[in-house]
Symmetry: C2
């Protein structure tokens, strides 16, 4: 199998980690995807790992020249959709950074282009593979807390000094789609149900000179069967805090409550005394999982339809925050 | 000072605990406040503690007969407002279970009646005096996390088998006002700012036969200066969980984050390495605090105006959940 890589603005590390476990995959092409983006660490990685991809300034030229089987898309956030579409039109499997679209129009075009293909499409929702989150999800899926009723999520990051493209809505997309997408993905993944409505708010206050970047946001979703889901987002985690991020989820079921906190899992169940701590464990790697599905060996944790659903939910949440009203989903 | 007590449906224990530290206060009158409510444990407590109140079926008769200086109101939830108003009209200081009103009309009447008095009025927001919450609040008030930007709160309770009055909206008021009021009070207390709007949802699913009682709810408030506040409420904590409740708050400031969890306080601050755990401490007791203000010795942590503000916020949140729309506050 041959792989091409476009850009490295986000979580391309998932791909590199996976490639180290998949020595049969050839990296045949490389493009920065944006003029001016420095990809010397990608070319350096390739040199060290015995890969010798053709490097092109224009990613379309690269795709046409090297004709890969699959593409990893990690260019500018506002170009994810366009890059995925170009790949679909060439019949390529696509592993893309999320959100896969930053506008409704992009998302509609992406869905339409995907509908014409039979390739595998997944986004870089790497936290599904985090041992604690994966373990909690397995517990919920196996009925460990009964019927899901309430999902509380949190994303808290250190801000630091971010590149220019974070400071403009047009190139950044917004904090709800960029940071919140992980948690909105958890809501869909843990509940397995359809979104019904969302109400959200966002603020650029205290963003340390980062222009349009929202330093705080909150979203609350209603999901089918009156499942509720809350999301708190901030970039205000102190620089001196022990970890970059403080990602959490708590899922309340009719028969138990499970929580992920500081990389650990906490479980209380009806009928079981006290609180238990299941050992966090995940033996899957996101890019290996993607390749397994492409090669027909196993089903990956994430597919095209839920990628579209979660992207739409991110955009609707951002719209709700922009207009200050509840936004509903088509039933 | 003389005290009369009406009812014992809620947190009258705060008053009894306080009385044990205030031997000079005479309990002069007692009324169940509702026909059929058994107050034998209140009369029993009085007997053991050398108090011999007059007991009346009708609380108004009792107030007229014993002419107390202050009244503790803990009758049926839907009668809190009426009982407070009767006390105001007699010029009495009032310490009432929250929420002090379960409808907008009750709240308007209560405000109007209070405006005609110069008594002290406070509600039983006992969690302000919880050592962990009080310690976190002091830290925030002293600027320990800088400008407040985001407040995440949680109330999670065991349901068990609740009395009949919990099963009807008319007598219960709803889970947002009854359970959520604590957390909505924290939002106001920690931010010190005005509520701007609220969006909420609630569900009776999985309420184990408790009629109108909402087993889950969520609220999100915007507060002045784009401060955001989230609230997750559930009655689904397993019967076998280590504690009855799982009350939490997390306050994100421009310069730090403080969290209360399992009775402990966790603090990360800009410039201070790692996470610290300030020792939870509170040397105040809520009813003693109330009496201190009545007697002019000290200012209590909670007063009339914020009691009204928080009650209105509870009712607006419930309204938002009832109608499925954002509800705004008068500016």
């Amino acid at each position: 199998m041959n792989l091409a890589i476009i850009g490295k603005r986000g979580h391309i590390g998932y791909v590199l980690d996976g490639l180290e476990r998949l020595p049969d995959i050839q990296v045949v092409g490389l493009s920065a995807g944006a003029p001016g983006d420095d990809i010397s660490d990608l070319t350096g990685w390739c040199a060290v790992h015995g890969q010798s991809p053709a490097v092109h300034d224009d990613y379309r030229d690269m795709l046409d020249a090297v004709r890969p089987d699959m593409v990893a898309v990690d260019g500018p956030y506002d170009l994810h959709a366009e890059m995925c579409i170009e790949a679909f039109q060439r019949g390529l499997h696509v592993f893309s950074e999320k959100p896969v679209a930053t506008t409704y129009d992009q998302l509609a075009d992406l869905r339409a282009a995907y509908a014409e293909t039979d390739v595998h499409f997944a986004s870089m929702v790497g936290l599904r593979y985090d041992p604690a989150f994966y373990t909690a999800w397995q517990c919920v899926r196996e009925g460990g807390i009964g019927r899901v009723r309430l999902i509380d999520t949190r994303k808290s990051y250190k801000l630091g000094q971010r590149p220019e493209h974070y400071t403009k809505r047009e190139t950044y997309g917004g904090t709800i789609p960029w940071v919140g997408s992980h948690a909105i993905d958890w809501m869909h993944w843990f509940s397995g149900k359809r979104f019904v409505s969302v109400c959200a708010a966002q603020s650029t206050a205290c963003n340390a000179g980062h222009g349009d970047l929202e330093a705080t946001a909150m979203c609350q979703f209603t999901i089918e069967e009156d499942i509720f889901a809350t999301l708190s987002i901030d970039y205000l985690r102190p620089a001196t805090a022990p970890t970059h991020g403080d990602d959490r989820i708590r899922v309340v079921g009719a028969d138990g409550v499970i929580e992920v906190r500081n990389g650990e899992v906490f479980l209380v169940q009806e009928g079981a005394e006290g609180e238990r701590k299941p050992e966090p464990r995940c033996d899957r790697q996101i890019f290996c999982d993607f390749v397994s599905q492409v090669t027909g060996k196993a089903e990956s944790l994430v597919g095209a339809e839920e990628t579209f659903v979660v992207t739409e939910a991110c955009l609707k949440a951002r719209e709700s925050a922009d207009i200050g009203k509840v936004v509903t989903f088509a039933s």
